[in-house]
């Protein structure tokens, strides 16, 4: 039922204006080349005495700079241990981790230093409830005092607007929905232009469509900054959709069992999910993961 021939044209213009390309698709947003991670023979035990559990067993991973490296595996298999070691929250019992050739932790240095070059986005969020969204986003540079305050707030506003979050600047995290909180946390992390972005199942409790939106937001911000992304998840489709490479880890103890390279070009959008190549990769990953899941299920694993 059409409504006759009204010729709708953009308001206040006589002729059609040139379409503005979204910034992320422009070719000049080249990611900088840093954030290469080398994990060599990492070993980690939990507990002491006879209740000692081997969480990570001689795990070696080479992650190229600017890559989206996704780690997937059954619950409770020690994936988070790797992330904690990378971030400098926990130490390793053996093995070493290098970032761009520099020793992060290993012989001689038990724990990696916690720093703004490796920023963690926690599983159920860690926005400071007592600071507004804008204060949260500007927190990193404000602490390091690298940018004058007025310019910092202006840049924070711009980054929030880019992520489609204008209007939330003055609200407190507690007042916003979980989807908004997640996006703000990613903006807060990327404000510091980290070499590596560490994500620990950040989209776990979101409903399906909100999760799809979060994926697009993450990819858009990844294209803008080009940081290396180290992403932990249980969700196979999420891993294949986001990752440039997906490592499927064995059940406890945690060791890379299979590494799939996802040869689908970025930026990825709605059509990726329905492409044939995507389906094949998901099926391949699914088969490998289910073997481990059954082993974990048989052991009666408690969620990690």
């Amino acid at each position: 039922m059409t409504s006759g021939a009204i010729a709708w044209r953009p308001a206040g213009t006589q002729r059609a204006a040139a379409p503005v390309l979204p910034r992320s698709a422009r070719a000049d947003a080249l990611p900088r080349r840093r954030g290469a991670i080398r994990i060599a023979d990492a070993v980690k035990y939990y507990g002491t005495g006879e209740s000692r559990v081997l969480a990570v067993d001689h795990c070696s991973l080479d992650i190229a700079a600017g890559e989206v490296f996704v780690v997937i595996g059954p619950s409770g298999c020690g994936k988070t241990t790797l992330l904690n070691a990378l971030a400098g929250f926990h130490s390793l019992d053996a093995g070493s981790i290098h970032l761009d050739g520099e020793l992060l932790c290993g012989p001689g240095r038990e724990k990696a230093p916690i720093g703004a070059d490796r920023i963690v986005v926690f599983q159920n969020g860690a926005l400071f409830p007592w600071k507004t969204v804008l204060e949260n986003v500007a927190f990193g540079p404000a602490m390091r005092g690298t940018i004058p305050r007025t310019e910092l707030l202006e840049r924070a506003r711009r980054r929030l607007a880019e992520a489609g979050l204008q209007g939330y600047e003055e609200s407190y995290p507690g007042e916003t929905s979980s989807g908004v909180k997640r996006r703000v946390e990613i903006v807060r992390a990327l404000m510091n232009d980290p070499a590596v972005l560490l994500l620990d199942e950040p989209f776990r409790a979101l409903d399906a469509l909100t999760k799809a939106m979060m994926h697009e937001a993450l990819i858009a911000s990844y294209l803008r900054t080009g940081s290396t992304v180290f992403f932990i998840t249980h969700d196979i489709e999420e891993a294949v959709f986001l990752g440039s490479r997906v490592a499927i880890m064995t059940s406890r103890p945690c060791r890379p069992k299979k590494i799939l390279s996802i040869d689908i070009p970025y930026p990825r959008g709605r059509e990726t999910v329905t492409s044939r190549r995507f389906r094949e990769l998901v099926a391949e990953a699914m088969a490998a993961v289910h073997e481990e899941a059954l082993k974990a299920y048989a052991l009666g694993e408690k969620e990690g």
Partner: protein, 431 residues
């Protein structure tokens, strides 16, 4: 083509008097300008025709549009003149409306996406827009010039609702029943029936009479300056002790919470002294501190200090370690972590601690004043017992109760203002 800023002015003028859109921030208007579309129609041309669901907001820039809602009892027709809005059925829930232009019109069409974004965080504007688009412009102070005015009328209406509801619900009548039972019971057992043991207590009429009489038989009533001297001295002592305890207790608690060395050296002795009941300190305090004031203030301070320090310490302990890690990840130094994470994070617990500390302060001052000292309500209660002035005992007790209640309410009010984010977080939890 007028460069963008003129276009924005043009559109802002049109939107200017649309309630809810008028006072949008400039970047919100920019996002709408980008998405808005313009179109001209001749007389009788159909804008949209009754079956499909309209998701665009239409604004009439010139001319008039006829809006008919078929199917309802009367063929309800509404007109949208220049500057008025129609459409956006997903917002208003209207079904099956036909819009035809009445004479030549220029219309603006704004897609729902741009509007949702601009209104994301402004529930009030949404309310106004929904009313205007749905044709009920007159419903809530239609043309409230500034949003604060509409806000005021809303708050006022909510207050009237709450008061009205309070009277209708059974709570107030049961509260009165409760008081009646208590005071009635007091009167009956003591004065009317004079049951054994009860008869020795002062009756409610005696107490009230004494309390409010111009020249009280036992020298203490609302009119005697001496009464206010006692209140003054007790309040001053609690005031000094409470502020000292807060000034010392909060930093000690924060230090206990955040520095392991300080905790491992200080906390053992702290936990050694804390279990000793405050009254047990009274003789030692009298011994050590000369004069009457110092021991009492010291004892009250001691009680409050332990309560404040312990609760602040628990507050720091309760902060989720992920916030500290997140802050350090973002490059915060230990001192910055303390200022931006530990202190605000522990604040709610500190405030609960302060409330407990006020209660404990009044507990200790009652004990201390009853054992020593010349002035203060505790002293009044004790001496009026020894001098057999029983009604004054009850006056002293009730006054202590009122002061205790008032001071803790004051601390709670100040506390709620300090922790704004929690208040707004709790208010967001819908039933």
């Amino acid at each position: 083509m007028p460069e963008p800023s003129a276009r924005t002015q043009l559109l802002r003028a049109t939107l200017g008097n649309v309630p809810g859109l008028g006072d949008l921030s400039s970047d919100a208007v920019d996002s709408i300008v980008l998405a808005a579309e313009e179109g001209e129609t001749e007389d009788g041309q159909l804008v949209y025709g009754g079956t499909e669901i309209v998701t665009h907001l239409y604004v009439v820039r010139a001319g008039r549009v006829r809006l008919e809602r078929a199917g309802s009892a009367a063929e309800r027709t509404r007109w949208a003149g220049s500057g008025e809005t129609f459409g956006w059925h997903t917002l208003t829930g209207i079904r099956g409306e036909r819009a035809t232009s009445d004479g030549a019109t220029t219309l603006l069409r704004i897609p729902e996406r741009a509007l949702l974004q601009a209104l994301a965080s402004a529930p009030l504007r949404r309310e106004q827009l929904r009313a205007s688009v749905g044709g009920r412009a007159g419903a809530i102070g239609a043309r409230a010039k500034t949003s604060s005015e509409a806000q005021a009328s809303r708050i006022f209406r909510a207050m009237v609702d709450r008061a009205f509801q309070w009277f209708r619900s059974p709570a107030p009548y049961r509260r009165l029943l409760g008081y009646a039972l208590f005071f009635g019971g007091w009167y009956l057992t003591v004065e009317a029936w004079a049951l054994p043991h009860f008869d020795r207590l002062p009756g409610i009429t005696e107490v009230v009479h004494e309390w409010l009489s111009k020249d009280p038989t036992f020298g203490l009533s609302v009119y005697t300056p001496e009464y206010y001297a006692h209140i003054g001295s007790s309040l001053r002592r609690v005031g000094i002790a409470f502020s000292l305890a807060t000034a010392l207790g909060v930093p000690v608690g924060l230090a206990l919470g955040s520095s392991t060395t300080f905790r491992e050296y200080v906390f053992p002795v702290f936990e050694l002294l804390r279990p000793v009941p405050i009254p047990a300190w009274i003789p030692l305090a009298i011994l050590v501190f000369s004069g009457a004031e110092a021991p009492i203030v010291f004892l009250t301070f001691l009680a409050s200090f332990f309560a404040t320090a312990l609760n602040t310490f628990l507050g720091v302990r309760s902060i989720d370690p992920k916030y500290v890690l997140a802050a350090r990840c973002l490059g915060a130094s230990p001192w910055q972590v303390f200022r931006h994470i530990v202190v605000p994070g522990a604040l709610p617990f500190v405030l609960t601690g302060l409330q407990i500390s006020v209660g404990v302060a009044w507990f200790s001052i009652a004990a201390a004043e009853m054992c020593s000292g010349q002035l203060g309500l505790g002293y009044v209660i004790n001496t009026s017992y020894t001098e057999v002035k029983f009604p004054t005992i009850v006056i002293g007790m009730l006054t202590l109760g009122i002061l205790g209640f008032a001071t803790s309410a004051l601390v709670r009010l100040v506390g709620e203002r300090l922790v704004v984010w929690r208040a707004r977080e709790l208010s967001m939890e819908r039933p």
